[in-house]
């Protein structure tokens, strides 16, 4: 079997976990004898192509969709309108603006017809426009390579339109892979409705929807109204090959409890701070680190200062590359108190480094990890208990570190991709 896969990023140049997961899936499929053509908006040429063929969408001119351009534009142009909304315009002015914008878009898209479009492949201000253009180019690629694949596979909402376009033009079955939903990015009453609309459309058009956890499968069924029969869960794995365990010299003597990730509402940073304050009431022989950055960071700093624990609660700011490994290596307990986490790959990385992990029951990873400590994200008492236990009873820490290490090493993309 051969797969045409649409992704947004691929290692080594990645902003989130999506690229890493795509690489794992591609390698797992290759292990099982499935060939893939991996399309991404902006490839840089240094991607590992041992398991797949990378197609750079920025190199492909739009040319085979002539008869469908108008129809296609009808479908996608609403995405762009609204992304440039002008605040404080009255309804008449706004109407005029929208009309102008529509004309401009049609013109822009007509110009780009027959031309290449240089994607940034980032997550910038013109993301919506890139998503729309990616769909056009995606359709073109699908037509050009019609005979080289049997199934279409699209990762997350950025690629759903490309997947739909490819399906409509070639008639081949479409698999949508849901790594996260709008409900994991905002709270229930504060989601981006444009993204939600794209997600829903992608899920409806798909012949099969793959979710990274049962938690996400539930969201897809209840919040997007998708037929449960076509939604299946395939849990993520982690590929640790080629990774050396880094050795670092410790500066601080006390055990370190680490939170590593974006400091945003969904990740539950404030529950970690509250739990830290509770532990510090019992013992001073511990340090807490919140590594990462995000829109809640300043609030978190205030929070820790207000509780008077700032000399034991440290912030590192955004960590990149080797510093992430260094941070894991310096940690004695890892914690992921997410309020909503479709999967959450970081505790797997922590356990692979031999760090016992505490994760929230509201994360997808909790469905497959037996040797991680699981608590409700809001239960800071339980969180504090587990942290204190892991710090105070070496036998507990050793046991969970050893069992956790074996457990995550047994998770393979080769199995997950089946």
């Amino acid at each position: 079997m051969r797969v045409l896969m649409f992704g947004w990023e691929f290692p080594p140049h990645i902003a989130g976990g999506l690229g890493t997961a795509c690489e794992g899936i591609v390698k797992g499929l290759a292990y099982n004898g499935v060939e893939t053509l991996f399309v991404m908006p902006s490839a840089s040429g240094d991607e590992d192509q041992s398991a797949t063929t990378i197609i750079n969408a920025s190199d492909v001119p739009v040319d085979t969709m002539s008869e469908t351009v108008d129809e296609f534009l009808d479908k996608v142009k609403f995405i762009h309108i609204g992304s440039n909304m002008v605040p404080y315009a009255n309804p008449e002015e706004f109407g005029k603006l929208v009309e102008e914008e529509k004309r401009r878009q049609v013109k822009d898209f007509s110009i780009s017809y027959g031309q290449k479009y240089k994607f940034s492949g980032k997550y910038g201000a013109n993301l919506m426009e890139e998503v729309a253009r990616y769909a056009m180019v995606g359709g073109t690629i699908a037509m050009q390579r019609k005979d080289e694949f049997d199934v279409i596979h699209a990762h997350d909402w950025l690629c759903y339109y490309a997947g739909i376009a490819a399906k409509e033009l070639t008639g081949k079955p479409l698999v949508i892979h849901v790594h996260a939903t709008s409900f994991d990015r905002g709270s229930v009453d504060n989601i981006d409705t444009r993204v939600y609309a794209i997600e829903k459309r992608g899920m409806e058009a798909a012949d099969r929807v793959v979710t990274v956890s049962d938690l996400t499968r539930n969201i897809v069924i209840t919040r997007y109204g998708i037929d449960p029969a076509k939604v299946v869960t395939v849990h993520n794995a982690v590929d640790f090959s080629g990774r050396e365990n880094v050795q670092v010299e410790r500066g601080v003597k006390e055990p370190v409890v680490t939170f590593l990730g974006r400091i945003t509402y969904q990740k539950g940073p404030e529950y970690f701070i509250e739990a830290a304050a509770k532990v510090l009431k019992r013992t001073k022989n511990v340090r807490f680190v919140m590594a990462g950055s995000g829109d809640m960071m300043n609030r978190a700093i205030h929070h820790a200062a207000r509780l008077g624990i700032s000399d034991r609660f440290h912030f590192t700011g955004f960590l990149r590359g080797a510093d992430v490994q260094k941070m894991f290596a310096l940690s004695d307990v890892y914690i992921m108190p997410s309020i909503s986490e479709p999967f959450g790959i970081s505790p797997l990385e922590a356990m692979r480094t031999g760090v016992p992990s505490i994760i929230s029951k509201q994360s997808g990873a909790a469905e497959i990890l037996n040797y991680a400590f699981k608590v409700d994200f809001w239960d800071v008492d339980a969180m504090a208990d587990d942290i204190y236990g892991l710090l105070s009873y070496p036998a507990l820490a050793h046991f969970s570190a050893r069992m956790g290490y074996d457990e995550v090493n047994a998770l393979k993309w080769n199995g997950a991709s089946l």
């Binding site: 410790r250 601080v252 340090r287 700093i301 205030h302 200062a305 000399d311 440290h314």
Partner: protein, 420 residues
């Protein structure tokens, strides 16, 4: 003979800026300072301000043969930087001291907020600063100015206790009410302490508004006369970096200062006095009640620029909580770092008041956000705590060892005593 006076005092201070100090550095690297930035900034300010302004002041003092006088307060942190990075600045201050027309004031060595954190630390730093001034300039300070002109009744009492009879502070509107800052006052709870109050209107006409005002020396004398119709003395207190740094040379600030003594003396209404002379010359008219600390900073003229939010209070508490342990350990190297970490500037960088005085705050701030300033500072404090704890633990081990050595001797002695 002029019956009224102008008292000019300039503040000279440079903070010891911290380097980017990350969590990974804690417990491993205990050099906290950004030597490169500190040297670069100091040398720049020396070229633009300290050297040309000192030269100008020296000329004016010599030219006016005793009729032109000024006062400086130079923080210990600034003096250390002069010695390390720019000794010629120190030489030019020494030349000014040699004229005998310049008064050097006492302050906290580290330009710190110790008066708000710990009485004993406050006294310690004031004594350390006075000793340093005497060592370098050969004169013992007799008048006191606290960091950022911070003053309250209780701070005044301690200052008098330390032997200072004159203190400088802000003529804050909310304290003065209808009263004029152009007189000598006394402390409410310490009536023997004489207070000189900054005339913030006329001081800021130079320090903050010179570029907009485009005032000439003669016009300014007119303003002085108008403002001091009632009163004995106009206190013009400002940062020395006003000249050439905050107000660049091309605003004409140096020409203005060159012309000012002549204009004042020719007019004849005012003479020049130093702070200690002022409180001898004029009788206090009343006392001033200051319950909560005042300062010369921001619209509020209080201490919220340094201790206004929870980040600042947390950092402040954590620093002064180490005081006792530090006294037991008594290590000079730790003490020096402890001092530099108390510099008020570190707390100023954590200020979150972005509205009325945001521009001023931004100008002085090496950090992009107050949060970065706080994180960096707390990382440094964490490392410092570790060093302190290690020294303290080592001390315990030594004490136990000494006691164990002594113990057998005691038993022997007791045995001998029994035999007798």
């Amino acid at each position: 003979m002029a019956t009224k006076s102008i008292c000019l005092y300039f503040q000279v201070h440079q903070p010891t800026r911290l380097r980017l100090y990350r969590f990974f550095d804690i417990g491993k690297d205990s050099h906290y300072y950004d030597d490169f930035a500190n040297r670069t900034i100091l040398r720049r300010v020396a070229q633009k301000c300290y050297l040309p302004m000192n030269q100008l002041m020296l000329e004016l003092i010599n030219k006016n043969k005793g009729k032109f006088k000024i006062a400086y307060s130079i923080s210990g942190s600034a003096l250390e930087q002069f010695q390390r990075f720019c000794p010629e600045v120190l030489d030019s201050f020494k030349a000014l001291a040699a004229t005998g027309r310049v008064e050097f004031l006492a302050e906290t060595y580290y330009h710190s907020l110790a008066s708000l954190g710990s009485d004993s630390e406050f006294k310690h730093q004031v004594a350390k600063h006075a000793a340093k001034i005497e060592e370098i300039f050969g004169v013992k300070p007799t008048a006191f100015r606290n960091t950022e002109l911070i003053y309250s009744n209780s701070i005044g009492e301690i200052v008098y206790e330390m032997g200072y009879k004159t203190m400088l502070t802000e003529g804050a509107r909310h304290i003065m009410g209808w009263q004029s800052p152009n007189y000598v006052y006394t402390g409410e709870t310490q009536p023997k302490l004489k207070l000189l109050l900054r005339n913030y209107i006329l001081s800021d006409d130079i320090a903050f508004r010179f570029a907009q005002n485009k005032v000439t020396a003669n016009q300014y004398v007119g303003w002085l006369k108008e403002n001091a119709k009632e009163g004995d003395i106009v206190n013009l207190f400002m940062d020395y970096e006003t000249f050439g740094e905050h107000q660049p040379a091309d605003t004409g600030i140096f020409e203005f200062m060159r012309a000012l003594p002549d204009a004042v003396l020719k007019d004849g209404t005012f003479g020049f006095v130093t702070p200690s002379e002022a409180t001898k010359k004029y009788k206090p008219v009343s006392d001033i009640a200051v319950e909560d600390p005042i300062s010369w900073a921001d619209e509020e003229r209080d201490v919220t620029a340094w201790l206004g939010n929870e980040l600042q209070s947390e950092a402040f508490k954590k620093v002064y909580a180490m005081k006792e342990k530090l006294a037991i350990v008594n290590d000079p190297e730790l003490y020096s770092d402890f001092g530099h970490l108390q510099e008020s500037d570190h707390f100023y960088y954590m200020c979150t008041k972005f509205f009325s005085d945001g521009e001023v705050h931004k100008y002085f701030n090496p950090y992009d956000t107050p949060y970065e300033a706080f994180i960096n500072y707390m990382n440094v404090i964490s490392d410092f705590q570790i060093r302190l704890d290690e020294k303290r633990a080592a001390l315990d081990v030594r004490e136990t060892a000494v006691q164990e050595l002594k113990a057998p001797a005691k038993t022997v002695r007791r045995k001998v005593a029994k035999k007798k």
